[in-house]
Symmetry: C2
Amino acid sequence: MLTNGWFFEDDMPFAVAIKIKDSLYSGKSKYQKIEILDSVTMGKVMLLDDKVMISERDEFYYHESIVHPALSIHPNPEKIMIIGGGDGGTVREVLKYKTVEEIELVEIDEEVINVSKKYFPETASELNNPKLKIKLNDAIQYIKNAKESSYDVILCDSTDPEGFAAGLISKEFYKNVSKALKENGIYICQSGSLLIQEKEFKTSLENIRTAFKYVDGLVSIVPMYPGCVWSFLIASNKLLDKKIKHMPNGKTKYWNEEIHEKLFAKPQWLKEKYFALRKV
Amino acid sequence: MLTNGWFFEDDMPFAVAIKIKDSLYSGKSKYQKIEILDSVTMGKVMLLDDKVMISERDEFYYHESIVHPALSIHPNPEKIMIIGGGDGGTVREVLKYKTVEEIELVEIDEEVINVSKKYFPETASELNNPKLKIKLNDAIQYIKNAKESSYDVILCDSTDPEGFAAGLISKEFYKNVSKALKENGIYICQSGSLLIQEKEFKTSLENIRTAFKYVDGLVSIVPMYPGCVWSFLIASNKLLDKKIKHMPNGKTKYWNEEIHEKLFAKPQWLKEKYFALRKV
């Protein structure tokens, strides 16, 4: 909702409200409404179907939280798949690992890529990197047809599991991800707000546990997202050794060795409710 | 601002917006406007001068973040002072330590205490505890006249440093706090949003460093506060040994041993800008 110069997401009863200076772009792709707002304090903000995807000022919290916990603990991440992530922030962080040889970016909506290149050049800075192969596909179909045991890390940097993205938290999808990963492969995905999307978080967790031997949760912060306390799930069929194996080659703004450990610490209520006595 | 059934703080360009069901109370004390709203997802919410102080649903994040990092690492916390904190949440958490013999609650506004008892019985549950002495005073004056070397822990659970609370981040105030603490005493205070109150955070940090030998920062989450990534400062004249000496006697919802360590972990930008090469 845009009201009196403020924008906030009004589809849920809790949102972040930001003061807006200007509307820079408004369009409709084949899949969704795409808008770019200019805000007083968060820089430019991209909305997909009226939901905040990224802001210039805080996108690093999200992208560093989804990439570094997985890439830094994998012994040798070479072949990577990113689901969604058309803004390029996840690509930028993944490329900080020298071992990475190839990234497939499976983004359903080309318009998100085009708009990001134009309005978020810093976030989209690596979208022309030669190691990147952009696949304009529905990730749910793509992963079903993916070659078995061929990826080291798969990252799901998607919108909420609604509409065309609803299948991204199904048992079948997780099973296909599990098959596409190499033996010691790692999957990581954003799993929503712990404040207002606990139902979706619970479904994701229950379903992912049917497809992977080891599942753990991460708790991070994304100031622009509703509730701000943001969850991620990390999964593997090999015991998750959370020790950092190699550091990213390049500066980070949020993630560091201390924060790495912090991301795996859980509020007491969350630990008791979903992670007590669980193998992780 | 209350608009179309939503409330958000509109004095800064970034806020949390919550859907409101009802307005339960609106009054004016000698010091400030006090309002109680009933919200769809956060339960009852208390506003002081149009700023969110607590919500029923997330107050534990704040109160556990200000109390346990200090009380759990103090070897023997007996005499405690709380500045502000009229809602009672900090008192409730402090009383989980069996060593605590006496708490002085220095709250300027009696109305906050009365309204909390009525509308937030769970938060205010210990406001009649016999160990508690309520001092209806301006903390800035109170601390100036406090007996030297007499408190084990002082907690500043105040509103933002504006208006009557502006003096709570001055050099003189910190010097008086330092004097009122015993040799191994610990001071902890909330120091605002790292997203939109960095200027105040910087002032607090610079000033507190003039009064204490050791100062460290904590980073926690308070979903209802603007920017949600919330900072606290902890200070002592004795080296801060962050190892837990004793656990609270009673359940916590957020804090636990893992979270304890992680509260001291800092985003890379914050570490580089304010805590690099510093004795802490």
